[in-house]
């Protein structure tokens, strides 16, 4: 299939098409370099995914900062290479705090984010390796990223948040101020509305990291936005609030004041520690269930207004062109979605027999109420077990035991949230939205299992 059929000009502008083509080429190159190691263990079914991820993520981003010794250079990102003992029971292990007091992961684990090869290094995104994840929390270092002007390095001692506009009293908060205010910790996913943008026309990327890796879940800690808004006193007629970041894009989005007063959080911590720089250190906005780009990172300013500000991101960029030429604006909520992460694309099942199908489901409108799984391309559905905690606007893990007969199969999952919304098929989505919109693809994902056990991304 030619690239122009895969990325037709109706849906993909010239810049988007270039990005998508680059990504396909990058994945092809990486997969072709792969040495296959097969084994019966679950990791073996990943068919070298881990090494692949390392190559794609680590090497694509930089020549990597490798100036320490050779041994250290060989350790995966986030790990330190130690000599492996022939018998670890026959000699003392290494001393405590050899890591400086901040842990590193095992040198044998090498999952990494995968950078989407946008033309500009400053404006790009990286994807979470969902296939290797366990439970519902994404490790902070594997949380997907989307940047519009690179990652700033901000000193928290000089950073301030200014709240102004239609308020009785404009306030300036230091980071210390914010940390003294009443805090909440909540688990929420963030999903980029561009998650799956390559998959509208043809099954394109091979792994679940590529097709669904722009969603991640963390426990976020911070101050409720309503707390600081009440302190400042919102004036009559206020309806929107502008959130602005301190990055080179000075990224801005307008947020409905109702959302701001409902469950928005000014988050300074993620998974029990300070935010990672790439996640907005020292302060980001968290809007549970809203598309990722609205969760403004490196937050420096909030301006209350009677009208939306109509920033570039909410007019020219994160809008959805419909068949009649009109465009949907402020399509903020992420509809319910699910994906099977095991087995998933580019894995290989070694033989017929028992497997536990597992995956993630989430909804921007509430909690997941059920997930059904089909092994015959949607002919029959079986209810999967949902593993707690089942939280609103949060990844939910589902599991279903399955015996593979060794014959061809098409695995699908379908999420239902507590509003009653049922995750649609791609065909159902395209019937409504046509062939021009890129964002908010939440269709059912299909993985084809060949008789050989190979798992591939298909449209079924």
């Amino acid at each position: 299939m030619s690239q122009s059929e895969r990325f037709p000009p109706s849906r993909y502008g010239q810049a988007e098409r270039h990005m998508a083509e680059s990504l396909v080429e990058l994945e092809r190159r990486i997969l072709s370099e792969e040495e296959t190691e097969e084994c019966d263990c679950k990791e073996g079914m990943f068919n070298g995914l881990t090494r692949r991820g390392l190559l794609a993520g680590g090497l694509a981003l930089s020549g990597a900062a490798i100036s320490g010794g050779r041994a250290r250079a060989e350790a995966p990102p986030g790990a330190i290479e130690y000599p492996v003992q022939p018998d670890s029971t026959k000699e003392q292990g290494r001393i405590i705090l050899d890591d400086g007091g901040y842990g590193s992961r095992s040198q044998f684990e090498n999952e990494v984010r995968w950078r989407y090869p946008t033309a500009s290094l400053d404006s790009s995104w990286s994807m979470t390796p969902l296939a290797a994840g366990h439970g519902i929390i994404t490790p902070s270092g594997l949380h997907f990223e989307r940047h519009h002007g690179g990652i700033p390095a901000i000193d928290p001692r000089t950073h301030a948040l200014i709240l102004h506009g239609m308020v009785d009293q404009p306030i300036r908060f230091t980071m210390d101020d914010l940390k003294r205010l009443p805090a909440v910790s909540r688990m929420h996913f963030i999903e980029c509305s561009g998650n799956g943008l390559t998959e509208w026309v043809q099954p394109t990327l091979k792994t679940v990291q590529g097709t669904h890796g722009l969603t991640s879940t963390s426990e976020w800690t911070g101050v409720r936005l309503s707390t600081v808004l009440e302190m400042a006193g919102i004036q009559d007629g206020a309806a929107w609030i502008l959130a602005e970041g301190a990055d080179a894009a000075v990224m801005t989005r307008s947020v409905p004041i109702d959302k701001a007063m409902d469950d928005a959080i000014l988050a300074y911590a993620q998974n029990g520690e300070a935010l990672r720089p790439e996640q907005g250190y020292p302060l980001r906005l968290l809007l549970p269930g809203y598309e990722g780009n609205t969760h403004i990172k490196w937050l420096r300013r909030l301006e209350v207004s009677d009208k939306p500000f109509m920033t570039r991101e909410e007019t020219s960029k994160y809008t959805d062109l419909m068949p009649d030429g009109s465009a949907r604006q402020f399509s903020l909520e992420m509809d319910a979605k699910s994906v099977i992460t095991f087995p998933s694309g580019a894995m290989k099942l070694p033989r017929a027999g028992y497997y536990e199908i597992t995956g993630l489901a989430w909804s921007g409108r509430g909690a997941i109420s059920s997930v059904e799984v089909s092994a015959d391309g949607g002919e029959t559905w079986h209810e999967a077990e949902l593993e707690g905690p089942i939280l609103p606007m949060c990844h939910t893990r589902f599991r279903l035991p399955w015996t593979w007969t060794g014959e061809e199969a098409v695995l699908q999952s379908r999420a239902v949230d507590d509003t009653g919304y049922i995750q649609p098929t791609l065909q159902e989505l395209v019937e409504v939205r046509g062939t021009k919109s890129v964002y908010h693809l939440n269709a059912i994902q299909s993985w084809h299992i060949a008789a050989s056990g190979e798992v591939t991304n298909v449209h079924a």
Partner: protein
């Protein structure tokens, strides 16, 4: 022990230096490790956050019930309040002409957006003009001319985030001039060299796709 830790931290800091853009290498501050308590050697707990509200009397208690934070001054707000809205609110004083904009565009914009404002996809830079009337067709072309609903957005974005290599470096006059050039080339305003844009004329511009946007009809029901 603490010396050793410092060495490790410093080494890690050196490793994490950005590979690109070495020119700005110089100053870098590294977080100090926590002090050890004299008696037991335990790591000292984190410092208690300090409120910036030094003069608590100045703060009306009913507004700042926690006595935390302090009133933002007009100067502090003005220093970062750079947004411009469709009705013209926030557009700064100043003006610029099409002719000035043509020169500025060549200097600051054309390397990425192209001599003819056509965009260079290899650089990720979108085209700025053309495509008018194409949105309902099978090959929609989304540009400032064909898609952007408000001229204020053009000013706002260029002023805050362009050009890519020196964002936020253009003066208001320069951004008015560049806007006059882009909108003139788009046929939305006049392309006469002396065409002037300022806050008032900018806010009065009617963009071709001003009525092209609808609010999100999705409400959680299927097939939307």
């Amino acid at each position: 022990m603490s010396m050793r830790n410092f060495t490790i931290v410093a080494a890690l800091a050196a490793l994490s230096q950005p590979v690109f853009g070495q020119e700005q290498a110089s100053e870098r501050t590294v977080a100090a490790l926590p002090e050890a308590l004299a008696d037991t050697g335990e790591m000292a707990p984190p410092p208690v956050p300090q409120s910036s509200a030094t003069e608590i009397e100045d703060i009306a208690p009913e507004q700042l019930v926690f006595g935390i934070g302090r009133p933002a001054t007009e100067e502090e707000i003005a220093a970062i309040d750079i947004d411009a809205m469709p009705d013209g609110r926030g557009l700064p004083e100043g003006s610029g002409t099409y002719a000035e904009g043509e020169e500025l565009y060549t200097d600051f914009c054309s390397a990425c957006h192209g001599e003819e404002l056509e965009g260079i996809s290899e650089l990720g830079a979108p085209g700025l003009i053309g495509g008018r009337g194409s949105l309902a067709s099978d090959s929609p072309v989304r540009t400032v001319e064909s898609y952007w609903p408000y001229s204020s957005t053009l000013f706002d974005y260029v002023y805050r985030a362009m050009p890519m290599d020196t964002p936020g470096s253009l003066t208001a006059d320069q951004v008015y001039a560049i806007s006059a050039y882009i909108l003139g080339r788009a046929g939305i305003t006049s392309d006469a060299p002396d065409t002037v844009l300022d806050a008032q004329s900018m806010a009065a511009i009617q963009m071709p796709n001003a009525d092209g946007f609808v609010s999100d009809p999705r409400d959680g029901n299927a097939n939307q």
